[in-house]
Symmetry: C2
Subunit: 278 residues, 2 copies
């Protein structure tokens, strides 16, 4: 598999790079970002995967989150994929919340989406294999994300016991089966049968999780999507019922934006670094 | 003068706001950003003005520089204007380097620019007066900027002895009279007579500066504009000849982007905070 480096910029003593490659599972060209902190020049480092939200590409997090400073401080490599398959040959929809930019980190089963929309396989398997074959990384992995990407991080971690040392999320869609964004996407990608939705819903997954990986979630108290789309209380109730460890912090005044993420990403990276270096 | 708050987002315990107002000197509506760190809730704070580069608005720095963390740490208010007058009634040009988004922080004397392009008066006088009348600020001011905005910061500070406690710049256009970006803009805004350019050229201004305010400049060593547009050696020679204090740091590997700015903005804010709180 050929990796083409399309961006290469010095940042906090390391390198903020972007690569393009042909994805086998998605059947299209994909871009992903890698931040290599200064320590990567001399040794292997653990990796934090970041999954972005609706409308984002691999660019939003690397330009707006201010995460590189903390990654350099803790010696953690950041890997940031795009949020869906891309290209003229890839199915799309009118809205911002379905199709390109809105892959929901699942494997679609319904036409026309099932041809390319396999972001779960991409994020959980193809991309890590590619990273582990081409960059100076250890096998210690963590995962985090925002909004749709927070949903993705929780689902990918819960479906792969033992694979991630830690998981966190900002403003995640914790119960996609029960909110408008998720119902629209899951109906299109997975069909009308709601039983097929449970394997892609963190609130459903915690009920049967075989590994009790602690969940760290930060949620803005003034988030404009809190009441209708995010509903962290649904995950909180499911975790309480299952005895699944959850730290849910509601941060008063914060909204859904990258100003919220940049304010707390340092604490998340410190949290992951502690687990990755344990 | 009416200030309308059009953005208000929690960030590092403070608020990242954007305001719109009618500018008297520019004759158009303008937006500017203000970051109020948490300390601003209880006391007056000093202000760091930031001037952005070509193509930028008030948004680029506040979304990409990661500066709010350091402003919160040091208790400094950030004020970030747009880079030119704006609007359908404001003269414009085809290129990215003249007209809207490219005001060069001067007062234009040539038609059609002289009607609205008075960014020097806006940045040096109208905006600080507005800020000082409406926000919890002391009269301690610092100024910094990037590229065209680095030029602006140096020129505004050099033309106003005693007004700024400190000045710094990232990748500034230090000698606009001698490089293509500056020659194009100054010819349009100021006319063909190069004698009229000297009051807007930092390298010319240091020769006659009455105040020896130290200049701090960071310059990326791999900046794609270094050799043709930035030429920091011209300012270095002028400072050496005049005995003007200059700290010019060439940072190997860094380019012209916000990845460079975010890597060193913490050091600049610490530098300004030391002067502002002295």
């Amino acid at each position: 598999m050929t990796l083409e480096r399309i961006e290469h910029r010095a940042c906090f003593g390391g390198w903020q790079d972007v690569y393009r490659h042909r994805s086998q599972v998605l059947g299209c060209d994909m871009a992903f970002a890698v931040y290599l902190p200064p320590q990567a020049a001399t040794r292997k480092l653990p990796v934090l995967y970041w999954l972005s939200g609706l409308t984002c590409s691999e660019q939003n997090f690397i330009t707006k989150a201010g995460a590189q400073r903390y990654a350099a401080e803790h010696g953690v490599i950041l890997v940031v994929p795009d949020t869906s398959p891309r290209g003229d040959e890839v199915a799309n929809a009118e809205g911002y919340d379905l199709g390109q930019g809105a892959g929901f980190y699942l494997n679609a089963t319904q036409a026309p989406w099932s041809t390319h929309y396999r972001m779960y396989d991409y994020v959980a398997a193809e991309l890590p294999a590619l990273v582990e074959a081409n960059f100076p990384v250890t096998d210690a992995r963590a995962i985090s994300g925002h909004s749709m990407g927070g949903h993705g991080a929780l689902v990918v971690a819960l479906k792969n016991p033992g694979r991630y040392r830690s998981v966190s999320a900002f403003s995640p869609i914790v119960a996609p089966s029960q909110v408008p964004w998720g119902e629209k996407a899951f109906t299109a990608y997975l069909g009308e049968d709601r039983n097929a939705w449970n394997p892609w819903d963190a609130t459903a997954l915690v009920a049967t999780a075989s590994e009790r990986l602690p969940l760290l979630i930060d949620q803005g108290g003034a988030d404009e999507f809190l009441a209708n789309q995010l509903k962290p209380e649904l995950l909180q109730a499911a975790c309480a019922a299952a005895g699944h460890p959850l730290t849910l912090r509601v941060q008063p005044g914060y909204d859904h934006s990258y100003y919220f993420i940049q304010s707390f990403i340092g604490e998340h990276i410190a949290h992951h670094a502690a687990a990755l270096n344990a």
